[in-house]
């Protein structure tokens, strides 16, 4: 309950859609690292409710599905990220996405889902790792690139 409350307060204070926020990256990565992944999902959903093509919301939602092995939603979430991210041309994000392997990572994981599907039992096991705190947000660097490009201003 305490986690949820703190997360809610953070959402209200800084994670709201449409609010100019220069520390969006720091907020979501800290929440993620501290284990408040549900709150990060809430931020993503809130952003997507305002703009269904919001790339930050799409990425964070995909991260959540990846972390908890929600394969039934993951492939669709990934395809949406790819579709939207390919259209973004701002300097930092485009560099991370196109040149530094971000896009390739997404395709690799989609490919892996097809080639190495998890059994229900394995999926159950792996899903537990999603609750482990102290881990970095895997695609935090993409959010950071968006912030550098002024996406959250």
């Amino acid at each position: 309950m305490k986690k949820m409350l703190i997360g809610f307060v953070l959402v209200i204070c800084g994670g709201g859609v449409g609010l100019a926020q220069t520390n969006f990256y720091e907020n979501v990565t800290n929440l993620w690292h501290q284990g408040y992944k549900t709150n990060v999902l809430a931020i993503a959903d809130a952003r997507l409710a305002v703009n269904s093509n919001d790339i930050a919301g799409l990425i964070l939602k995909a991260e959540y599905h990846l972390a908890f092995c929600e394969d039934d939603q993951l492939s669709n979430a990934y395809l949406r990220v790819i579709q939207r991210a390919d259209m973004i041309t701002t300097t930092n994000f485009a560099k991370c996405w196109q040149e530094e392997g971000g896009r390739q990572d997404y395709f690799d994981i989609l490919e892996d889902m097809v080639e190495n599907p998890l059994t229900p039992q394995r999926m159950q096991q792996e899903r537990l790792k999603g609750f482990i705190s102290g881990k970095p947000l895997p695609d935090g660097y993409l959010i950071e690139a968006l912030q550098k490009d002024g996406y959250f201003d």
Partner: protein, 535 residues
């Protein structure tokens, strides 16, 4: 007591009845009375006769001291040898007075006028002579109290001895050599009807190790040719050494054959000793190796120039040249015949990589691990916890870094890996590739890099790939042997592994506070940084 001529030279009245050695006669306030000014050959009206910045009275031997009439000692007792002179008439007649005079050989000027304590009373006093110079000495008869005329009996000693050859200065100030072919030095000698010491001289030679030279026919392509001198804080880093032209380097590439065997070669160690005419057979000098790899040998130790023969192991060899009597000089010879053999440490690091991978896999789902940027953050931006691939790991050191290529940025310590010289970045990348395979990164991705940086050097890519292959079940021995051969063959371009510039400094265990620091090898690292592997 004071010769009239000396008094007249300085405008003193020969008739005035001064009391020698009385500080009230210290006209220049340097702490020396007239008598001391006379025997130390200093100017009674100049408090710093030799102009070396030290007052005459502060230079005269104070267990030990320096020479007040010679600026070459810079007023520093370390540049002098202190000895005791004795002269006088010890015979039963107690009749004669003598001086023991010393002259600088190169200039002929007086440096010591030692006087006895009175008629028939030998006297001793200490004097400092400057290292690196030769002196002549003679005896001068002064007077007699015999009515029937002098008998010229005398005693003359140096350090209470009439022996010649290599002697040792007082207070451990160093060696000197005494030559006395005529026999002026004696416990007691009865003279003749005339002064038989007239025109006879002896020599006092005070040696000094001016420099140690190290040469080798194999050092011809070195960027820093000999000579070198002494140990310095960064002795083999051209960018940090205060004397970058004073190093002796033999590159590995110049002494290795096609089978990577180090061929036989010699390094000549030479002590340049002053004065120039001194020869090795006059001293009890000795070379010795005081530290370094157990490889090679000195062909002899008892001369100024020796050869260190056939060293096969790289490292810092330190030699001591002892001139006898406390005159020592230390030489550092560096033979960069590759660094420490790291194979054992690397294999131990693979075990750490196993543990790392196990812990990581327990924490992350496989798909998370496929994100290369994510990988990079573990490797580069977490500064605590276990890490591997860095032999100077502060918590669990596995090796001692001896060598470092510093010609550019300081990056790239050199080690020996299964008999081949490689920069430590190669095994580091090897371990990286090994760990990547274990946590599910594809070989192609691993070879490309971890996202924050791109692996471009072919030998780095090969190292990552080799590590990946070993983790994938490949034979370590075969893969690594092929890898180190490949590295040797393909690093011709920048020649880094072939230079093998050693760095004898201990690793600094530096942990950067940011990724910028991690890459700032020129300032941040005494030893190169390696991958942080945290969970």
């Amino acid at each position: 007591m004071l010769p009239d001529g000396w008094e007249l030279q300085y405008g003193l009245s020969p008739c005035e009845c001064a009391t020698p050695n009385d500080l009230s006669w210290d006209a220049d306030g340097d702490g020396l009375g007239l008598f001391d000014e006379y025997r130390y050959c200093t100017d009674p009206f100049n408090p710093d006769t030799d102009g070396d910045g030290v007052r005459d009275g502060d230079e005269v031997p104070h267990s030990p001291g320096s020479c007040p009439n010679d600026p070459d000692d810079e007023g520093n007792p370390a540049n002098c040898v202190t000895l005791s002179l004795t002269v006088g008439d010890p015979s039963g007649s107690h009749s004669e007075r003598w001086n023991f005079e010393v002259f600088e050989e190169a200039t002929g000027r007086d440096v010591v006028r030692h006087c006895d304590d009175g008629f028939g009373t030998p006297g001793s006093a200490e004097y400092a002579l400057v290292k690196g110079k030769a002196y002549t000495f003679s005896l001068r008869w002064i007077d007699t109290n015999l009515d029937e005329g002098p008998d010229y009996d005398w005693q003359a000693l140096i350090n209470d001895s009439d022996e010649t050859g290599a002697c040792e200065g007082l207070y451990g100030t160093g060696a000197f050599i005494v030559e006395d072919s005529y026999g002026l030095l004696t416990e007691e000698r009865h003279g003749d009807e005339f002064d038989i010491t007239i025109g006879e001289t002896g020599r006092i030679i005070v040696p000094k190790v001016e420099a140690l030279d190290v040469t080798s026919p194999k050092s011809g392509t070195s960027g820093n040719p000999p000579p070198f001198e002494g140990h310095r804080p960064w002795p083999f880093d051209v960018t940090k050494s205060p004397n970058p032209d004073r190093h002796m380097v033999v590159f590995y590439k110049d002494v290795v054959d096609s089978a990577f065997n180090v061929e036989d070669f010699d390094v000549t160690l030479k002590a340049n000793v002053l004065p120039a005419d001194i020869t090795a057979d006059r001293l009890d000098e000795a070379w010795s190796k005081i530290s370094g790899p157990a490889s090679g040998s000195l062909n002899r130790t008892d001369t100024f120039e020796v050869k260190y023969q056939n060293p096969k192991v790289g490292g810092v060899y330190r030699f001591d040249f002892d001139l006898g009597g406390g005159v020592k000089s230390e030489a550092n010879l560096v033979l960069p015949l590759a660094g420490a053999e790291m194979d054992g440490a690397i294999q131990a690091d693979l075990l750490k990589a196993d543990a790392f991978a196990t812990a990581v896999k327990a924490k992350y789902i496989p798909r998370e691990l496929k994100k290369m940027k994510h990988m990079a953050r573990w490797f580069w931006t977490n500064h605590v916890g276990d890490y591997t691939g860095r032999p100077d790991n502060a918590d669990t050191p596995t090796a001692w870094v001896h060598n470092q290529v510093n010609d550019e940025s300081g990056f790239g310590a050199v080690c020996t890996w299964r008999g081949r010289p490689v920069r430590l970045t190669k095994p580091s990348n090897f371990i990286l590739g090994y760990a990547m395979q274990q946590i599910g990164i594809s070989r192609a991705k691993a070879r490309r890099g971890t996202g924050l940086f791109t692996i471009t050097e072919t030998t780095d890519r090969a190292s990552v790939g080799a590590g990946w292959d070993v983790a994938n079940g490949g034979n370590y021995d075969t893969i690594v042997s092929d890898l180190v051969d490949y590295i040797w063959t393909h690093e011709v371009e920048n020649d880094k592994s072939r230079k093998l510039w050693p760095n004898p400094n201990p690793p600094d265990n530096y942990k950067g506070s940011s990724s910028d620091d991690l890459f700032n090898y020129s300032t941040g690292y005494g030893a190169p940084g390696f991958l942080f592997m945290t969970q």
